[in-house]
């Protein structure tokens, strides 16, 4: 059983698309935060998180996204989420996160939103 954060990244234009795999729960939330911090330290300010390979995210993972979306704002950067399955989208909606972080249906829509 893999207890480590699994995530891939891909540069598309001037955006960095991150694809977390499997799950982001409290056991890997700190690693997820460190990973995002490292990308920002490298100078990436346009981040897209593609949820298509994510089976589960808990409030710990959601909070990391929220914190980093806020961090990017002053520098004109942005964090956009895309390709959520309906169950996860619903959870972002009931927790009110969708009012603060942009959520797109497709990666193309997310790239266009940057």
């Amino acid at each position: 059983m893999n207890q480590k954060l699994q995530i891939t990244s891909e540069q598309v234009g001037d955006s960095l698309v991150l694809v977390p795999l499997d799950r982001v729960d409290s056991s890997v939330a700190r690693d997820f935060e460190d990973f995002l911090d490292a990308r920002m330290q490298e100078g990436h300010t346009k981040l897209i998180v593609d949820f298509s390979k994510l089976g589960f995210i808990s409030s710990a993972g959601m909070r990391v996204l929220l914190i980093n979306a806020k961090k990017l704002k002053p520098s004109g950067g942005r964090l956009v989420l895309c390709k959520m399955r309906a169950g996860i989208r619903e959870i972002f909606s009931i927790s009110g996160f969708d009012h603060i972080i942009k959520i797109c249906d497709s990666r193309e829509e997310a790239l266009a939103a940057m």
């Binding site: 729960d25 409290s26 409030s59 927790s95 009110g96």
Partner: protein, 132 residues
């Protein structure tokens, strides 16, 4: 099932609950909600009741009836003080490093009934999801 108070056991707890819900033919969106609620509740036990201390006991039991799925989680840690709980303001969570009660908020929104009890050093959360 019984697990020790480590976040690395969250996956097996989630799978335990999902397995029972699937056997009872609960719809997948309701299973998604139960899975997240149970994960949030167990995370709270590990991080708050046991304050990150490893090796403590977390008990999770699931009962499936014709109209509902019930989950009970018990621990022997610090009791959840409801008087200090306020529904989180999401924008504030982005500024603050603390958890901010988001897990409890999510549990309450996802499950149909949620009850906490603390007595004689034992804490219990009971959550019920009715079959849609």
């Amino acid at each position: 099932m019984e697990v020790s108070s480590s976040l690395r056991h969250l996956r097996s707890v989630r799978e335990f609950v999902v397995q029972h819900a699937r056997q009872a033919h609960f719809p997948e969106d309701a299973i998604d909600e139960c899975r997240l609620a149970v994960c949030e509740a167990c995370t709270n036990v590990i991080e708050h009741a046991y304050q990150g201390q490893p090796g403590r006991l977390v008990k999770v039991s699931v009962a499936v009836g014709p109209d509902r799925l019930s989950v009970r989680i018990t621990d022997n840690g610090k009791a959840f003080d409801r008087s200090t709980y306020f529904e989180p303001e999401i924008r504030r969570l982005a500024r603050e490093r603390r958890s901010g009660g988001l897990g409890v908020h999510i549990i309450r929104r996802l499950m149909d009934r949620v009850e906490y009890r603390s007595r004689d050093g034992k804490n219990e959360i009971r959550m019920v999801k009715y079959r849609p």
